[in-house]
Assembly symmetry: C2
Homo-oligomer: 1009 residues x 2
């Protein structure tokens, strides 16, 4: 029956209903309707005593009241599609349609009178009343004389024809959707009835009925329940029941489309069947249940309409076993067409441009928002700190060929160009560790071999740029679809750890730089001094003619500063020479203060203080800025000479003997130009991996980006910038993971919650190019901002660094899983993967990740750091091998499936159809050979430029029942023909064979794939 | 019907039921019962994938399944009081009782076979399996061949006769009450049935049925549902429904006492009627609802048995208005017989001793608990810090007549005596501010007037002691029943603020004590030194014979320390003389670090990490100790000369010219012995108020103290200690609010949660005398602990002080209400008073409290601090006046009612009976006269020792309708006849009359009371 009504004209959506429940009250000797609760989606109750609205909560009903309501609708008056334009007319019409003889004319008049009493709505009382109320409170409601026959002597109609100004300017209006209609529930006890009078009215046209509703929303439904005295509570519950039904998506549909009483009853029955029941002994009905984060949408509820298949309850003991879980499998890692291999020359690049171009205008106008300012300030400070840090380090590494000045200029140039034209303008370019190490090695090499560094570097840049173009042209970026959560998380947490450790190292460094004199005894202050003396021999010499010499020369020396003294060959003598007071501790206070204040302010978003706007938009978004300002202020207040941010103030290369343009020819022999192809290759891999993995992290599905990504376009511009920077002798730039994540975080949008009680939803990121461009333009003009920037102490910026590192760790599933180690299982949060994967498997997975990270960290700390991005390939190989350790089911929950697996899985599922046989795991073993092969192929550069010699130690998975856990090692060389991309002569040599295996079958000697 | 069964033999309580639900599964080609959920009170589900128990949650059922269950019980087999000793026998018996012809013998055999399959319980897998599982996981459950006719070929009985060791050593057992019985729910799909087979069995005697139940608990109920295939989910829901019913307090009663099927059906109907319903559109059934903090007890549910009066739902729009709220009025401030005025000599003291004596043994043996250690350490550190602080201050104030040594000795003596014999051993005695100020004034007075300070002090002590005895003998402590939450909160938050401000002042002081050289330039370290020079004149003199003089004398001077230099009249010259590096900042780090680490560790209790025991017992309870240790360690590591805790090491008076006993006669003229009566009076009031208000705070109802209090006994011992300390020349001691609260907090007990999911309840405080005694004994022997204590830096202890102050603020309703100012009303927490009192009234109440505190704070900062405790009387007067500003209803929620009011209210309520007229507020106005009168009387010392001249500015409440808010001021002198305790000649003079009042009636000129 219901299916029929609801499907009748499903194209016309029904308006949202706002429900107001008014109860009949006596105020003095007047009867009036007083608003007692309202529903947009959740219930808000008027708290009599508190004279306020309660918090929105889930309406908990009693089953009893629902059944009573059902009886009411069965026996009461139901009028559908009544014509009406005002309340008196509607009431009149109502009685006309009720059969004669049902209600006596006398009662009719009395009921009409009651129904037309004026309505008092719960609006916020003005503040100035509160003082006047002081005296009143004790004498309020003194006269409660009952009147029962004075009824007819009063005016019949108390209700205003048009909404009052109070109603019109009610701010609550903005919480109600624009197309909403009202349903009014009127509940009252009267003394002239001896059985309840019930009417359910649907108007043919929604009409604004004057002062009936709190807000000027046209009324569509009226539910009236008047009954004899003494059962107020019961009537109230019935009123709440119908009100809750009216705001139920499905029932309101039914109410709009019902043809008769029976349809409504069916609607209630349907509602009852879907209802969730809490046992009285396990739940205190007085608890107001907060609205849930998410509720099942009405559409979904409609789709499970058959009564037998009642929506799965939370507690269903997983009777059927596998099936129920398979249904709940997490949504798969979806890779859009961005990473499809086009097979055409520059196909990916073309698609990227085609995809991004239409968004270009919106990339600018969407940037005009207050949030932009905080994001720009935050990222700007991160960027210049980074620029100064790396600039300083690069200057040390390259003998100032590239210094802080070049770092600023390069950051500004590369960043703004990339944000203007790049595929993913949310990515922030920056110098990164591997590049720094490469430059250092390169500079040492050229110095030792008398090769001109700048020219060599230029050629490497040019080669690398060309190689990037080749990668772009061949759509090589498609390889990153093999990056699953495992790889991403490994990479990004490693980078975060590096940020954190760098920040802490810098901090610890300041304790070395400003050593504390821990032996200082305040009383013996007289014993501490530091004098500059001419060097020892002079002193000895002069000892004979002490008096005259000391008088003349000593004065001279004592005026010198520490640096000058050392410069002129003097020596510092005294117990305070090597100590610097206060600065180290002050730096620590600034560092830790900035960090913890930022963390605290960020958390402030979840506190209850201040209106939401202030909390979220101001305090939370500007938390970093506010912390920086606070601690800059503190630093200025105390006035200690803490190390400050010093930016170059003059626009000239750090090293005077170099210009702004590097000439490509002339200084090095010709073969160097060609040979630089080889180091360029390393740089290319480095850049490719660093750039693309950051892009993958930025483009994560969780970030809900809408404008698509542009891996090929990104790489294209990074290549161009490589060349450009090389020509200008500036550092090379590549996507910086942590700052990019910070950028995205600072641009996150949340929906303004609509219905009271509904949780704001994360809508996505403010995708635009403006913030990035502004950040880098600001970086460029920082040279002129030096007078302002010089007040910022470096420890404050290290604090910001620490925050960035820690913030980018949170929200990573890996991190959550690490925390699980420390929690007893009964306290663990209800992560969905914990419901589906045994804890020990989760721990094993986490442990493998930790192991990988430790290895990477150790490698990172050696000179191998230069091949750091290549190691990410290693992570991908490890991930591949995990396929053999973990079941696909477990991996689907903990990680994502690799593309082939996923495809296969889907096919399997199809094949399986309805027979529910769990044979997929069996078939997996057989297929693994070709899978691994195609995976290795996928890892290779598309046009096969390199000869790889790989050592793969693969735990080769389930091959036979007898020998399941054997771990084998294989070694092989893959020789590639550059043109065909075919793996030639796959000769594998079995390495060690685990002794567990009793019968190595033939499979072992022949190549596995 | 139900009422009849339940009341039948209500004296025998039914055992708690543990319910286990097992579902039929195929494992390989075996059928077996697998545990899928269990209930002690809340549901725990087996998570198939996760191979673990879910968190306990409220069982959300579908209405459908409840109705299906009802049908099942109507149509299925119900066997009550079956005799059985083993499962096979029970199954056999079951079939014998089922009528012939209902089930064919063939089916009977098959069902028996199925019912006797073995049960697999969800027990935690041993850890060593996890590695072996690695390979297995991918090949698990490969063979799922269906068997259907192999049934009869197997052994009929798979089930063990006795519980297995797994069952016996199941740790879950301890979560189940000892007297519990089990109910087993068996749910399964089988292919040989075409209609469901349902059986509900109650055994005559609970019997352990071998491997049936997870834990070796005897089974009382069996519910079997076997049905045709395809409806597993539906069966499951029915199983969950009966399981939930079985653990419901009321239904389990019904199940135990049911005489037939109809009783069970009635039980379900009753359950259905009480059920709480969540609308499907507002709640996602997948959310697992966490168990609530409190659920309605079964008894309460029984009492509201009539169907019309369904328990009030959370959302009931307060239709009836006043009535509903009156019912919910908060439980009144209950004053036990402790404060009753006995009217007999020493009646109160006698009762106190009678009350406390029986607890004496338990006061000691209950102290043996691990928590004691942390409490002792915490309070000990608080006490010695306090002793040192006050000792130092007292030493300054009294020219070392009472110094740190006396402070230690006095604290140890007074504290241990009080804890041993006092009425409330949880109170910690300490020096307090007012006493300090009194001593200072007294010392100055005696010095200026050539009176011997120690002797005068002794006499004051003796007088004061006697006065205390009088107060004890006359039961004067009963006055404190006029102290409501308003007064308590005012006092305790003021003391907390003083603690906080003192801690911060100390900290700021260290910046003054160790000034930082903010102009220090690291490079110009050579310019900073501090030389000790002979004073200027000498230098000038010596300028002529510089060379020789400098060589000889300067060397001498330069070896001197700062103090020595100044001592010998030298002057310090140099830019570093007045600065002390690092110490101030280090102190700050230690101070703030200790404070924030303590706060963080305290909060750690609520985190998810580590097992509950570790978290609560170790980390949270020992948080202060751990923080202190950490920062002591840090301080030692860095090795700076931060100010350390120095306790006296030798047992001798601080001032060498005094001994340990003060002689009462000889040094002052005789009249001083008598005149000291007057200052003693002040001291008595001071001590009385300070002591008793702290006692009230400690004895608060929220602390759930069980051993009663002893106000009179407390005062008695304080009096004795006054005299004793005076004789020994030690400081005077009185209860210290903040440390006492800290003492109580550190001894709080929580119930070990019994049923999984049940919240641990606050049980009360570990009331004993041991901690107090240990603290003070330790304080006494601190003299010998000096070598250890000297490692503790003072800033760390100030951090502990700050923590104490802040911690004692939290949990005060006043503080919560202050926070409300900063919250927009929709974010405010759901405090019960906010539901019943308008926000602006709440704010007004808070504002008055803030105002009072401000006034007190200001007074406190002047010399008036000496009458500080008397001001508490002022607070009580203000509270009395609030009766005229706020309605009794509001005050009942925000504060407590004053004793008379309360009595009257109760009488009113009785008088009112059922007519529900709100006349009580009217009557209140008339009664207020006598009330105020009796209140004033109550404020006076019982035997009328003083002449008061009071200025009362009372807003005299509702007197007539025309003039409600008029504020009048009255001034009068009360002259008391010492014997009769009658207020003589109550002549009141009207002061200002507010101009609002139009017609001051006759009432004004005549005295109001």
């Amino acid at each position: 029956r219901l299916r029929y009504i609801l499907n009748e004209d499903d194209d016309m959506p029904t308006p949202t209903l706002f429900t107001e429940m008014d109860t009949l009250q006596r105020e003095g000797d007047e009867l009036e309707w007083k608003e007692s609760a309202r529903w947009v989606k959740f219930e808000e109750k008027v708290e009599e005593g508190g004279e306020r609205w309660s918090k929105p909560h889930v309406s908990t009903l009693s089953l009893h009241s629902l059944f009573e309501l059902r009886t009411c609708l069965q026996t009461g008056t139901v009028l559908l599609d009544l014509d009406g334009y005002s309340l008196p007319q509607i009431v009149g019409e109502m009685f006309r349609q009720i059969e004669e003889g049902m209600i006596s004319p006398d009662l009719r008049e009395k009921i009409s009178f009651v129904l037309l009493r004026k309505h008092r709505h719960q609006t916020k009382k003005p503040i100035h009343r509160s003082l006047a109320d002081i005296g009143k409170s004790s004498s309020a409601s003194e006269c409660l004389c009952y009147l029962s026959d004075s009824v007819t002597t009063r005016s019949m109609n108390d209700i205003a024809d048009s909404p009052s100004t109070d109603q019109l300017k009610n701010k609550f209006m903005k919480k109600i959707p624009r197309d909403a209609e009202a349903s009014n529930v009127l509940i009252g006890e009267v003394d002239f009835l001896n059985k309840p009078f019930v009417a359910f009215v649907r108007l043919a046209q929604a009409t604004t009925l004057g002062g009936l509703t709190e807000v000027p929303v046209p009324t569509r439904f009226l539910f009236v329940l008047l009954g004899p005295q003494g059962k107020a509570k019961s009537y109230n519950e019935i009123g709440r029941a119908i009100a809750t039904l009216m705001v139920d998506d499905l029932f309101s549909d039914v109410a709009y489309k019902a043809r008769d009483r029976e349809d409504l009853i069916a609607g209630i029955d349907e509602f009852l069947d879907e209802v969730i029941v809490l046992p009285p002994g396990e739940w205190d009905p007085k608890i107001r249940i907060e609205p849930p984060k998410k509720v099942t949408s009405a559409d979904k509820r409609k789709s499970v309409f058959s009564l037998n298949e009642l929506g799965q309850m939370n507690g269903t003991a997983g009777g059927g076993g596998g099936l129920a879980e398979d249904e709940e499998m997490p949504v798969q890692h979806e890779l859009g067409e961005e990473l499809a291999f086009t097979g055409r020359f520059c196909g990916g690049l073309y698609r990227d441009i085609k995809r991004k171009l239409p968004w270009l205008p919106s990339d600018f106008y969407e940037g005009f928002h207050i949030q932009t300012i905080s994001a720009v300030l935050f990222i700007y400070l991160g960027c210049i700190t980074n620029a100064i840090t790396f600039g300083g380090l690069l200057g040390d590494a390259t003998d100032n060929y590239q210094g802080v000045m070049e770092s600023f200029l390069g950051t500004a140039l590369a960043g703004s160009v990339f944000c203007l034209f790049g595929g993913q303008p949310l990515i922030i370019l920056s110098s990164t560790g591997p590049i720094l190490i490469f430059e250092k090695l390169l500079f040492d090499f050229s110095k030792n071999n008398n090769i001109d560094y700048m020219e060599l570097r230029l050629w490497i840049g040019i080669h690398s740029c060309l190689q990037c173009f080749i990668l772009v042209a061949t759509d090589a970026s498609y390889i990153i679809k093999y990056m699953t959560r495992f790889t991403e998380e490994g990479f990004s947490s490693l980078i975060s750890f590096i940020f954190i450790s760098d920040a802490i190292k810098k901090m610890v460094g300041s304790f070395k730089y400003y050593p504390i004199n821990t032996d200082f005894k305040p009383d013996y202050v007289t014993a501490y001094k530091c004098e500059c003396l001419a060097n020892q021999s002079e002193v000895l010499e002069s000892s004979t003619l002490q008096s005259s010499f000391l008088n003349v020369t000593a004065l001279d020396w004592s005026q010198l500063s520490k640096k000058e003294c050392l410069k002129y060959g003097g020596s510092l003598v005294g117990r305070s020479c090597k100590y610097v007071p206060d600065l180290a501790l002050m730096s620590f206070i600034l560092f830790f203060g900035t960090y913890s204040m930022t963390i605290t302010l960020k958390k402030f978003k979840f506190s209850r203080y201040f209106p939401t706007k202030v909390r979220k938009k101001l305090i939370s978004d500007f938390s970093i800025f506010m912390s920086i300002m606070t601690f800059v202020g503190l630093d200025m207040l105390i006035g200690l000479k803490t190390p400050k941010l010093i930016v170059p103030t003059e626009f000239k290369p750090t090293r005077p003997d170099r210009g702004w343009i590097v000439m490509p020819f002339g200084k090095n022999p010709w073969w160097v130009y060609l040979a630089s192809f080889v180091p360029a290759l390393l740089v290319t891999i480095l850049i490719f991996m660093d750039q693309q993995i950051s892009a993958v992290i930025v483009n994560r599905k969780e970030n809900k980006l809408k404008k698509g990504c542009g891996y090929h376009l990104d790489l294209f511009w990074v290549g161009i910038l490589m060349a450009a920077c090389s020509f200008m002798g500036l550092p090379w730039y590549v996507a910086a993971t942590v700052i990019s994540i910070a950028h995205i975080d600072s641009l996150k949008m949340e929906s303004e919650s609509s219905a009271p009680g509904e949780q704001p939803q994360f809508l996505g990121v403010r995708e635009q190019r403006l913030t990035g461009i502004l950040v880098f333009v600001l970086t460029g003009v920082s040279i002129f901002l030096a007078p302002i920037l010089k007040f910022i102490p470096m420890p404050v910026l290290y604090g910001v660094f620490l925050y960035m590192g820690v913030a980018s760790l949170s929200g990573i599933q890996f991190w959550d899983r690490i925390k699980l180690y420390m929690m007893p299982s009964k306290h663990q949060p209800d992560f969905s993967y914990l419901r589906h994967v045994p804890l020990r498997r989760v721990h094993l997975f986490t442990f493998i990740q930790i192991l990988c990270l430790t290895v990477l960290w150790i490698l990172k700390s050696t000179f191998l750091a230069i091949i750091f991005p290549v190691m990410i390939l290693g992570l991908m190989v490890v991930r591949k091998m995990l396929d053999m350790v973990f079941s696909q089911h477990d991996l689907a929950w903990l990680d994502d499936l690799l593309p082939e697996k996923e495809k296969k899985k889907k096919e399997d599922d199809k094949k399986k159809g309805k027979d529910k046989d769990k044979d997929k795991k069996k078939s997996k073993g057989d297929d693994s050979e070709e899978e691994v092969g195609s995976f290795i192929e996928a890892l290779l550069p598309p046009a096969g430029l390199v000869l790889y010699s790989m050592h793969l130690y693969l735990p080769v998975g389930p091959l036979s029942d007898e020998c399941r856990v054997c771990v084998f090692a294989f070694r092989r060389s893959i020789t590639l023909t550059p043109t065909t991309r075919q793996v030639q002569s796959p000769t594998w040599t079995a390495g060690t064979v685990s002794s567990n295996c009793t019968s190595p079958t033939k499979t072992w000697s022949t190549p596995v794939w």
